[in-house]
Symmetry: C2
Subunit: 454 residues, 2 copies
């Protein structure tokens, strides 16, 4: 066989025509959303005040294994997909490992991350439903950027609540969103009741994803033609992101590979879930048995130190109750720079799979070690990774080094979910050694964990 | 025939194995460099105090039509190449033009531009020669970033003199270079004689590429194991950048296309020359007759308002004399944000081809119109272009609209040399309408033009 290429791209005709709905192959479903007041299970209809209808239908769909990607979305995907599957020859050489390490790289679009995959879908369905506006939150800015791009393309208004600390650290992220026509508001803001109430208690807060979510939901509830869109956590987002795993799987088949280990960083779970989905399907149906590792920041360790319980999705406690691994909706992570991983909870699908032992392992890693891995990767593979993605790189390096010791020629697939172009403040603090790990103590976590019922 | 894909990638086996040396096919060569004191022609040996030996040999090579890409460089290219040839279906639809518009996109690497193609080559040859350090200047930061990436990979020290106005506008560019291990100094600086002398005359100057070049050359002359590297203008840079045109040509052949019009932005000429080279070869040898358009900023119009004359490459007047289109080495462009196009001169190869009528046309465009084009492009094609590249986009749109009027189904190839991720300050000034065009008056240009002999 000839040498495996550095980069494998699918042809247009080889690209996925449907998303894969992993729930159909799960032995047990995750528990349903509950109404925060009545504690009764919620169906698609109940969610339609917040989300657009098609997304609500997808959210509760447990019967269609494959859901067709509408031609308009498939066409949008073609403006930046397929994404490359990268054989990390140089990193392997540097580690002197017999492992074959592959990165599925989702950063080659202007939003710089995988978020665009779901943004395109959500905006398309909103437009189709006749809505005039969308609203959302953004932390690191990747989701907001992705959404602003999709809104510009499909022609719909967008208001983004951006976590205040991120909007201060990343003025250029804001500028990108505004270039694509979005309205960007630092959160907490005085434009919503929940924002005003948070500011009253803590005028100097840097904000959080949970808080920005509350503000966006409040805005969406204020008008019939505006809906809220969410870039992670929810089942329909994991569904859309399955395009990552489907492409990766097809590309690996093309070069005669199948992963022994699959590694993804875990924030809200969309990148993780999307990358793993089709391989998880193989595991659930007994076709293969890859080993799954979720990597989270030690500063926001929902899987490794959280509780599997019903909790709110936002700090304002306005969302339905979600059964997931969580640190408590009031958890405010330290000013960790991997903004995309600063969420207190985790995708219900990924939470359930972790709880049931299909998602084999979660590891929490410290930020300084993550940036050390990021810098090593950047030097040898040329790509400057997003801090989020660098969490997965750190563990990929660890696993590569284990293979060096054991001599095992494992095939490792890693989700490289984005680039670090807009995270230079974080890289600067790593370079000048002012970066901290921001690990919460047990006492920090105790109040949030105590108030949730298992 | 099936539909042409949105993105065409070459397979590894289809990628260029050699660079193309357009000079071999030129009817007449450009005039040689002259010693600034004696005015005598300079050969390769004379240049070796400044540049590494292999690059000096390439600089004066007029006999080898194809120069093999060394395997180490070819391997480095594989970490980010091939770059895609993008069919701009959405832009065509928006313009309602029968033209087929293709963009060769060089921005999908961490440096964000085509500059990495020559950086990889120059660093490799320096390492091979046993040098321990390199020094250079950077304007927008793209060249410095590219070079810092290549230096990190091949293992060699780097000092970058960054135009002061750019280093203030783009602190994150500096941070990227430092992440890859480079030392970055704002220019003019007090570390060199020429820097100190410029600061004495004008302590508040924002600097210029010409001035930063002078400082870097002075540093390179201070040690036997340090050499200077330049990211544009010179013949060996155009040689390395021919990989853009060669890939574009091969990709177009793959889909059964050949360009009627080829459009590139013109700063020092490396992107322009690299994109055009193999097609220019076809024109010079009578195989085809594409129409070439160079696009420059109205704020720094070397081709459209400069003089074809011998001039210095730097403001400190330390370089050899170069026969080129120039606005005078003392020309200080207004604080135009397209940093990569703020150079007073133009590649001698491209200057000669323009002077002799093979490079058919040069157009100067105003900055606000450029950003209008950039924003339109970003919305429809999802990619946020570099301000430099957006100059070419502006003219591509103009040509597309001409085709709409005439009904001609022309094939247009455009160099999309980079992304605008690090140019958000400029996009912000466009969005908030504080952007100016900064066009020099005839009086501004007169002193510089008067002192040069034709």
């Amino acid at each position: 066989m000839s040498k495996i290429p550095y980069r494998t791209y699918l042809e247009e005709g080889e690209m996925p025509k449907s998303w894969y709905n992993v729930k159909v192959d799960m032995k047990e479903q995750h528990d349903p959303f509950l109404h925060p007041g009545t504690k009764q299970p919620l169906g698609a209809k109940d969610l339609e005040a917040i989300f657009c209808s098609e997304l609500c239908a997808q959210e509760v769909n447990m019967t269609d294994r494959f859901i067709e990607i509408p031609p308009e979305i498939a066409e949008y995907y073609l403006t930046y997909r397929p994404s490359p599957l990268i054989r990390a020859y140089n990193l392997e050489k540097e580690l002197d490992t017999p492992a074959r390490i592959y990165f599925k790289f989702e950063g080659n679009n202007t939003s710089g991350s995988h978020k665009l995959n779901s943004a395109a879908a959500q905006v398309y369905y909103a437009k189709k439903q006749g809505l005039t506006g969308l609203t959302t939150e953004t932390g690191a800015g990747q989701w907001g950027t992705a959404l602003s791009m999709a809104c510009a393309y499909f022609g719909i208004d967008l208001t983004v609540f951006m976590v205040k600390v991120s909007s201060q650290q990343k003025p250029y992220r804001k500028a990108v969103m505004e270039t694509y026509g979005a309205k960007v508001i630092a959160s907490p803001s005085t434009t919503t009741e929940v924002g005003r109430s948070i500011l009253e208690k803590d005028p100097d807060t840097g904000g959080s994803l949970g808080c920005a979510i509350s503000e966006a939901i409040e805005l969406s509830m204020s008008s019939d033609s505006i809906r809220y869109v969410l870039g992670s956590v929810l089942d329909h987002v994991v569904l859309h992101q399955s395009v990552i795993g489907l492409e990766a799987k097809a590309a690996m088949e093309k070069i005669g590979e199948y992963p022994d280990i699959i590694i993804g960083c875990a924030g809200g779970g969309s990148n993780l879930g999307g990358l793993m989905a089709p391989f998880m399907g193989d595991k659930l149906t007994g076709k293969a048995n890859p080993y799954f590792i979720a990597v989270e920041p030690a500063s926001c360790p929902s899987l490794t130190r959280g509780k599997y319980a019903y909790d709110f999705g936002d700090v304002g406690r306005t969302t339905p109750l979600i059964k997931m691994y969580t640190l408590g909706s009031g958890f405010m992570p330290s000013a960790n720079h991997a903004g995309g991983l600063r969420y207190h909870g985790m995708s219900p699908i990924m939470s359930k799979l972790y709880h049931d032992g299909y998602l084999d392992e979660a590891r929490a890693v410290e930020q300084t070690a993550v940036f050390e891995a990021a810098t090593l990767f950047a030097k040898h593979e040329t790509i400057l990774p997003a801090p989020e993605s660098a969490h997965a790189i750190k563990i990929a390096i660890d696993e590569g080094l284990k293979c060096k010791e054991s001599g095992e020629k494992k095939t490792i697939l890693v989700g490289l979910s984005g680039t670090g172009y807009f995270d230079m403040q974080a890289y600067m603090s790593y370079t000048d050694k002012t970066m901290s790990d921001g690990i919460p103590s047990d006492e920090d976590l105790a109040p949030g964990l105590a108030e949730m019922e298992e």
